[in-house]
């Protein structure tokens, strides 16, 4: 055997230890070479009489993150090439063969006749956990860092190397489906309780435990290969199955709106697979896997949510010439809801935080937010009280601006008012050092104009957090006209430190995310004014893939805020810049009826302790009422997505967005733009620019100028260009 990615040694008891330790990588990953070598090992173990069995362990801190998704992407390219030269059928046969290779390898291991044990420390996810599942014995370390799971669903895939079949044979079908749908990372104790693993031991006992199991005569037969094996939930077509499958199908639809083919394929693979023996079940799984790999949803989600997101997090937009910064101390001015949230995530990342507000009481209140969030974690058993105390000790809540001295970065999160911000900037400037970067967490005020209040505008940058800070994964970094590279690098290093995903946008009204979101909300308003039943607006928005309907979202951000933005826009840009119908609706809601949204318990919804319900009075605001059955539902979906995607295309034309990855990743993480599309630009690319422009024109003719495609889109449509073709981020970088 010639192994490069593994070490293989056999002890005096005849037990082999296979150590997975890929050279030049911090994390093991499944590649073509890994598959080839593992195949050799299985053959060797099976054939060598002196070897009793084999323990697989990692030589790294973690076990493995799973398969190399770019390898799967590569398969698609091979397929298209082959299809051209040898025809669809032969190409498909190749694709099926290649995409099922890992599954067949694991089955070979499982049925080789010698016992295999997986000894796992650290993360063991996706294809790596499927390897463990194909071993006859699985032992986990009890380390805090050990996690197992099958997260494929999160990037539009599903476990295609036996995961659906083995999990569904290890636990009740309902539990298996839930695990596969959620894709959660599972802690050792829970994994044991779920019957996913056989034992949990201290890390230094891992290999010993695995070897003991083999020595004690561990069976080389998986439970499902033993005669008389029964599925944990028994037969699919049975009274028990009737309790499982109808709700499973319904819950799939409830959770996905039938937008995620991979989730549906999980259902189908488990449903069909559980009715046949393991080998056939695996083949069925492989058939669906090959199919799902080719869906546009998987391609879009892998690109945006795995590849692009990863690249942005690793600093794709970071100016290379600025040396890496280690941020130690961050100042936050304004201890309101946003400031308190920023303080929490910073302290959670181990940074020292100075949290300043105008008096001690206000500052303490901001710090108390961290206390509350950590206490919740302690209550849920996710943190220890010592963690809470340590985190709180890192936050210095004070009214003294002098405490900001020595901060690497100061973020202001005070009231959205120019005068207030100018005052704060002046006060901060007076105490901080010359190299400290100043960031504003404004969501509405242009950064360039705020920077005028700062002596060193090149050290002034926008860092726009989303609310609630501790939950939202995106941070928008806004470059003012004079923002320098060091300010950008500092902002990016800070965002990286607090483990969020950054996008970098150029300064403009609303930046990127809010521009799209405001269009989305406006479309909801206009549909309401047209007479679309309110529930239909909200429900079709979810069908479109949005996390919440536009009316609900508006209630969350407050209608009076929307009204103020509208008035400000009108003042700055003229009456033509706002939609009269939208203005009339908001005037009625905000000015006449004082329905501000969730904050005063009444908006488009009424809020009661038992939950929220659409306000029945909305019907009276609709002068015309459309009959639900006559409404073109696809058009509602189109309008809600197109109005956002078109705005995203405008930000590209205006160079607010300079990297297409950022529009897509930012839209999904920032405001939940239909993840199955891969983001607004991927949505346009998938439809084809020409078709998208035609759709815009159709909608513009029917619903107004706001749907008029911009110049860039029309030019791209003429040339048949896509965003990822014309603005290829990897070509630009190279």
């Amino acid at each position: 055997m010639k192994l490069e990615n593994f070490r293989f040694e056999t002890d005096s008891d005849g037990i082999a230890l296979l150590t997975w330790d890929m050279p030049g990588r911090s994390m093991n990953v499944i590649t073509e070479a890994v598959m080839a070598e593992l195949g050799q090992v299985v053959d060797h173990v099976a054939g060598a009489e002196a070897i009793k069995g084999c323990v697989i362990v990692s030589g790294k801190e973690a076990f493995s993150g799973g398969a190399d998704l770019t390898m799967l992407q590569g398969l698609g390219g091979e397929f298209r090439k082959l299809a051209k030269t040898k025809g669809e059928e032969e190409a498909m046969a190749f694709f099926f063969e290649a995409s099922s290779r890992l599954s067949r390898l694991y089955r070979k291991l499982e049925t080789c006749g010698k016992p295999f044990a997986a000894a796992v420390n650290g993360t063991c996810l996706g294809g790596a956990f499927e390897l463990a599942l194909s071993c006859h014995f699985r032992v986990l370390s009890d380390s805090d860092k050990t996690r197992v799971g099958l997260p494929e669903i999160k990037v539009g895939l599903f476990p295609g190397a036996g995961g659906t079949q083995r999990v569904a044979r290890l636990m009740q079908t309902g539990d298996a489906l839930q695990m596969l749908f959620k894709g959660d990372q599972i802690k050792p104790a829970q994994a044991k309780a779920m019957n996913l693993v056989h034992a949990v031991v201290p890390r230094d006992k891992l290999v010993e435990t695995a070897k003991e199991w083999i020595k004690a005569g561990g069976s080389a037969k998986a439970p499902w290969d033993v005669e008389g094996f029964k599925n944990p939930s028994n037969k699919v077509h049975s009274p028990a199955g009737m309790m499982i499958w109808p709700p499973a199908n319904a819950i799939y639809r409830r959770e996905t709106q039938d937008n995620y083919p991979a989730a549906k394929a999980i259902l189908q693979a488990v449903y069909e697979g559980l009715q046949v023996p393991m080998d056939l079940g695996l083949r069925i799984e492989s058939r669906y896997f090959a199919h799902i790999l080719q869906t546009p949803e998987a391609a879009a989600m892998i690109r945006s949510l795995f590849i692009s997101k990863g690249e942005l997090e690793k600093g794709a937009r970071r100016p290379a010439k600025v040396p890496p910064l280690k941020i130690k101390r961050v100042g936050i001015v304004g201890a309101g809801f946003m400031g308190a949230g920023i303080a929490y995530v910073s302290a959670l990342a181990g940074l020292n935080v100075v949290l300043v507000d105008r008096d001690q009481e206000a500052a303490d209140k901001g710090k108390a937010y961290s206390h509350k969030l950590m206490s919740d974690q302690v209550m849920k058993g996710r943190a220890k009280s010592a963690d809470r105390d340590a985190l709180l000790a890192r936050i210095n809540a004070t009214s003294d601006y002098n405490a900001l001295k020595g901060c690497d970065l100061v973020v202001e999160a005070v009231f959205e008012d120019r005068a207030v911000k100018a005052e704060v900037i002046k006060k901060v400037q007076a105490v901080i050092g010359r190299r400290t970067i100043f960031a504003s967490n404004t969501s509405t005020l242009p950064i360039s104009s705020l920077a005028e209040n700062f002596e060193r505008p090149s050290q002034f940058v926008g860092i726009h957090f989303f609310s609630p800070v501790e939950k939202m994964l995106l941070v928008e970094i806004i470059l003012g006209k004079r923002t320098g590279d060091r300010a950008l690098a500092t902002a990016l290093d800070f965002v990286r430190a607090i483990k969020k995903t950054p996008i970098v946008v150029n300064d403009c009204r609303g930046f990127f995310a809010n521009r799209c979101v405001l269009n989305y909300i406006r479309e909801g308003h206009l549909m309401l004014a047209e007479g679309v039943p309110p529930a239909m607006i909200e429900n079709m928005a979810k069908k479109a893939g949005m996390p919440v309907g536009p009316l609900s979202l508006n209630d969350e951000v407050a209608l009076d805020l929307g009204w103020k933005i509208l008035q400000a826009t009108k003042k700055d840009l003229g009456a033509a810049a706002v939609d009269a119908k939208q203005e009339a609706l908001l005037k009625t809601m905000v000015v006449d009826l004082e329905r501000f949204g969730r904050k005063n318990g009444k908006g488009f919804y009424d809020y009661a302790p038992t939950g929220k319900k659409l306000w029945p009075g909305l019907a009276d605001l609709q002068k015309t009422k459309l009959v639900a059955d006559g409404i073109d539902r696809q058009e509602i979906v189109d309008r809600l997505l197109v109005v956002q995607a078109l705005e995203a295309a405008r930000t590209v034309e205006e160079k607010v967005i300079t990297d297409v990855r950022e529009a897509d990743v930012g839209a999904i993480l920032g405001f939940g733009f239909a993840p199955y599309t891969g983001g607004p630009l991927s949505y346009i690319d998938r439809m084809g620019t020409k078709a998208f422009v035609a759709l815009c024109e159709k909608l513009a003719a029917k619903h107004g100028e706001r749907f008029k495609p911009n110049k860039l889109l029309r030019a791209m449509a003429r040339k048949g260009e896509t965003f990822y073709g014309r603005f290829n981020p990897h070509k630009a970088a190279a």
């Binding site: 077509h237 009737m242 499958w245 109808p246 639809r253 409830r254 039938d258 549906k264 259902l267 069908k543």
Partner: protein
């Protein structure tokens, strides 16, 4: 094309479909045999003249398995020459069985057939044969599958029927059924189920509660609220009809069709064969139709199939004197009345399945008989029978007296 005439029909009484129901001691084949024997005997029909026995049965498993139509014909002593076929279109099976036989008569391929149906819900159990459309994701998901009770609640929500509306309809069903029995309106067609010694086991429908009122029904808890919420079905229903914000759960055991045991048989033939056998036609089959309808509403097929059938026959709803629509759930009938703006006095005049029960595979044939009897009693001409069907379908038939 030959015409198909209905020469006679009979049904068993409907016994409560539980272990304490009177027909629980009677096998499914015995129920079917009872009606076959009755329709043959009282018409002095030579069984050898029967070209086929077509029976609807929704759960043809266990004691109802293995083509119960042939089994029932053998048990009824029809002899080896009479074949049988069992069909299933869920709740409309009994009516579809008559249509199936009639179509072959009309096509000139058969002369005399018996259509009907049987269901022993107390013995075989509802759902005993499984429900693939709910189970296989490739069918359930595009079908917007939800249990029928949730679908009925969706109909009530979408079309604006309140709990009071559906309860009031149920009270009326019991009142009408009780009155019909009191006045002997079913006497002509109900044949008692007897034991081997000729002793009557059950002679009358068993689930009618003449004294039920709004107050009694008002005390019942909606049956499908928890299932709808926890099973994810409410969400599915709403995805089918997104103008609905929340499902108003109004249905319960008291305003849904009862679970019962029973069987029915309808004697169908062409003119010449009838004459030769000495039979007198009671009604002519004008036409029948089936279709698939809104999958999330599941149970609004009767509206669509009625429209389809009226168009096919060149008729208008005003041409119909009496209508029988199966009372699967109150909202099904209320929606039907609403859609055609019908006078309730023309619809289910002798009550329906809420009062008397719905022996799945048999009901279609039973209410076909009911409408013919009532047309005769009132000396009216044209009747329409329709049933909603699981998995979003509907079947209807128009008959007229001759």
């Amino acid at each position: 094309m030959a015409e198909a005439f209905i020469y006679d029909h009979v049904r068993t009484p409907r016994g409560k479909g539980k272990a304490d129901g009177s027909l629980h001691e009677v096998t499914a084949v015995r129920l079917a045999e009872t009606t076959l024997r009755a329709v043959q005997k009282r018409n002095g029909l030579d069984p050898k003249l029967v070209d086929d026995v077509v029976l609807g049965c929704v759960d043809p498993v266990g004691e109802a398995s293995g083509d119960i139509a042939r089994s029932a014909a053998i048990a009824a002593g029809f002899g080896e020459s009479v074949p049988g076929i069992q069909i299933n279109r869920f709740c409309a099976s009994g009516l579809d069985a008559v249509a199936f036989g009639a179509a072959q008569v009309m096509a000139g391929q058969k002369d005399i057939v018996i259509g009907g149906g049987v269901e022993s819900m107390s013995r075989v159990g509802m759902g005993a044969s499984g429900m693939l459309p709910a189970v296989d994701p490739s069918v359930a998901i595009p079908s917007y599958f939800s249990p029928q009770g949730v679908a009925a609640d969706l109909i009530a929500t979408k079309y604006g029927f309140t709990r009071d509306d559906v309860d009031a309809f149920a009270v009326e069903s019991h009142k009408r059924a009780a009155k019909a029995w009191e006045e002997g309106r079913f006497a002509k067609s109900v044949v008692p189920v007897r034991d081997v010694n000729g002793l009557t086991i059950l002679g009358k429908d068993e689930t009618i509660r003449p004294n039920t009122d709004m107050q009694t029904l008002g005390g019942l808890k909606a049956s499908f609220a928890m299932m709808g919420e926890q099973g994810g079905f409410n969400a599915v229903a709403i995805q089918g009809h997104p103008e609905v914000e929340t499902i108003n759960h109004v249905h319960h055991a008291g305003n849904s069709s009862g679970i019962v045991d029973g069987a029915a048989a309808v004697l169908v033939g062409n003119k010449a064969a009838g004459r030769k056998a000495g039979l007198k036609p009671r009604a002519r089959i004008r036409g029948f139709a089936s279709l698939g309808s809104d999958l999330a509403l599941v149970l609004t097929g009767p509206v669509d199939v009625t429209e389809k059938l009226l168009a096919r026959t060149g008729m208008s709803i005003k041409d119909i004197d009496l209508i029988e629509i199966n009372e699967a759930f109150s909202a099904v009938v209320l929606r039907y009345l609403q859609a055609f703006d019908l006078d309730p006095a023309k619809v289910n005049v002798n009550g329906g399945a809420i009062a008397m029960g719905h022996p799945l595979g048999a009901t279609g044939a039973m209410i076909l008989g009911t409408v013919i009897d009532e047309l005769e009693r009132r000396d009216l001409s044209t009747g329409l029978v329709t049933l909603c069907v699981a998995h979003g379908m509907g079947t209807a038939m128009i008959v007229e007296r001759v």
